[in-house]
Amino acid sequence: MSQRPTERTPSDRSRPGVSVELTDLTRTYGQVNALDGLTLRLEPGELVALLGPSGCGKTTALRILAGLDEATSGTVAVDGQDLTSVPANKRDMGMVFQAYSLFPHLTVLDNVAFGLKLRGDDRTNRHLRAAEMLELVGLSEHSEKYASQLSGGQQQRVALARALAIRPRVLLLDEPLSALDAKVRVQLREEIRRVQLEVGTTTLFVTHDQEEALAVADRVGVMSHGRLEQIAAPAELYAHPATPFVAEFVGLNNKVPAVVSAGKAEVLGVQVPTLVGSVEDAGLAMVRPESLSVRADSEGTASITSVAFLGPISRVHCTLADQTPVIAQLTSSQARDLAPGQRVSLEVEPAPVLVVPAATMGA
């Protein structure tokens, strides 16, 4: 995204995006620290994805922002206004849940108009607004149906329309795609992004699926054990992981023995620049599968154990001389002549790598 969010023309459908600040949030359940000093700022109109394994605190953070959970300490501010003690129903936040959150006794149209009814809008106005929202998510012709008559993907689109109908200050998406089929998931995440760009609402998107986070977000925050490990634009996060956890969690990585000296690492015989945070002596370099190339070489020290054909690309599983397993990702045409058992030599492209201490990564 070269365009800055604030420079977008504000849509007439919604109020322009506002900033969100979570400051030093902690949340403890008995002995467990769900959040351990989380600080996060969302710029106006921005879509930030919180990514992490289950139990990392990402949903807790979203629920505290929504007012559905209370922080043990720390503050929540929206547009510079402290909301910490404002109850959930006064926060003006549109929320989309994992699944099954539509009211089953109301039609699609009445579901979308529900929040407007609570705000005292008259029937005509709220139905106009609800119809407009349904058009935005492409479900106009289903407005008289009930939730039980819709597919899972359609239900989530209605939930999105319902959340946006109240012109929320912030849109909160709590794993909105995790209950859907893979194909619908991809379709809907693009739809969510399109709608979000159109209305310009500041959005927090919680997910455990890295592909999803990288695909939709302006910035992705990776969380672990209640703390933010790194927050950066998707490409930045992928190319320059700041911590071993991020390097390992985002994307597939090989751990190749490396020796570092003077800011350069020697990996598979090639001198490669190192990223900030790397160790200063021997360690393991985190090498992306697509940074490796494989060449048939009867003198090579590595050998192929198997080749997995995945359509346009293939993954070649190899074993190095010291028995370290590595995976190289090639285009399928490059991999055409490679076969298990073959001796090969591996080469790494000279992109910067993170070198982590061998001990912390374990086996």
């Binding site: 929504a66 007012g67 559905l68 959930a88 129903n89 006064k90 926060r91 003006d92 936040m93 549109g94 929320m95 849940f97 994992q98 699944a99 099954y100 959150s101 539509l102 009211f103 089953p104 006794h105 529900f114 929040g115 009814k117 609570l118 705000r119 039980s148 939930a159 319902r162 959340a163 109240i166 909160l172």
Partner: protein, 291 residues
């Protein structure tokens, strides 16, 4: 043609083989459930070789109508009171932690009182507010005559004792609906701006209404068909239909009333069946919502 017939034959043969192990079950239920029921249906219009609507006609005698009216009054009043209070108690149970021992004790007690009490409940109330009941003697010191003119053994007493088992029955049948309310619905409503009261008024109550009405119908049927409690309490007179059936059964030889019991039993089947069908329809609707 011949092939189709052979296919049908094979299918019928398969059905027979599949069905054979079910025969003992079906035979048993035919003998001990279907035949007695059919006997009632037939017996109410056809007995001793002749067909007549005489017994059905007897249902419209003043005695039978009075009993029916009192039965309906008893069942309806205890169903309404039981449903309202039972729903409140179910809410108290539903909002307690699901693993708490207190909750399990409450549910077990409800289950016993609702379904297996019968005679025992009658005696519990005799021991409490009967003429020498424990509570009666306590308040007698205060100059209050709780046992009064033996109201416990009349329709009034039946209303009290029936309510005592209707409330727990409501808890048991209504609790699943209450627990079917998903947390997301409350949270969605709140995030859209609803206060707690607005959530109840606009989401929870409309969702629970069919289940509530259905449960109330079930309570009505339950009270209408109940016999043991009434039989144990009321030994003189036959104010309600089940007791009239007892009277017809025990005195049919003497009074030559043979067959009146059939007609009364038919009346009971009809009332209970109509109510149960309405119940099923309402509950089917809810179960689609509150899965």
């Amino acid at each position: 043609m011949a092939e189709a017939a052979a296919g049908r034959g094979r299918r019928a043969g398969a059905r027979l083989r599949e069905g054979a192990p079910l025969l003992p079950f079906f035979a048993y239920l035919v003998i001990f459930l279907v035949i007695p029921t059919v006997a009632v249906l037939v017996g109410s219009v056809y007995l001793d070789g002749s067909f007549s609507f005489g017994r059905i006609h007897e249902l419209f005698s003043s005695t039978a109508l009075a009993a029916l009216w009192k039965s309906v009054l008893l069942s309806a009043s205890t169903a309404v009171v039981g449903a309202v209070l039972g729903a409140v108690l179910a809410w108290l149970v539903a909002s307690s932690p699901p693993t708490s021992v207190l909750r399990r004790m409450m549910l077990s007690l409800c289950s016993v009182l609702a379904q297996f009490g019968g005679v025992a409940l009658a005696f519990a109330f005799v021991a409490t507010v009967g003429s020498t009941g424990v509570l009666t003697l306590w308040v007698a010191h205060l100059g209050v005559d709780l046992a009064g003119s033996g109201w416990l053994y009349t329709l009034t007493g039946l209303v009290l004792v029936y309510t005592y088992f209707q409330i727990p029955l409501m808890v048991i049948v209504f609790l699943p609906a209450l627990e079917g309310l998903k947390a997301q619905w409350r949270e969605a409503a709140v995030s859209l701006g609803a206060t707690g009261w607005q959530y109840w008024r606009q989401v929870a109550v409309p969702l629970l209404t069919p289940a509530f009405l259905g449960s109330m119908l079930l309570l009505f049927a339950n009270a209408f068909a109940a016999y043991a409690t009434a039989a144990a309490l009321v030994s003189i007179g036959s104010p309600i239909v089940p007791l009239l059936i007892r009277q017809a059964l025990t005195s049919e030889v003497v009074l030559g009333q043979s067959g009146f019991a059939y007609a009364l039993a038919l009346e009971m089947i009809v009332v209970v069946a109509v109510v149960m069908v309405a119940y099923t329809l309402l509950v089917r609707r809810t179960s689609r919502w509150l899965r």
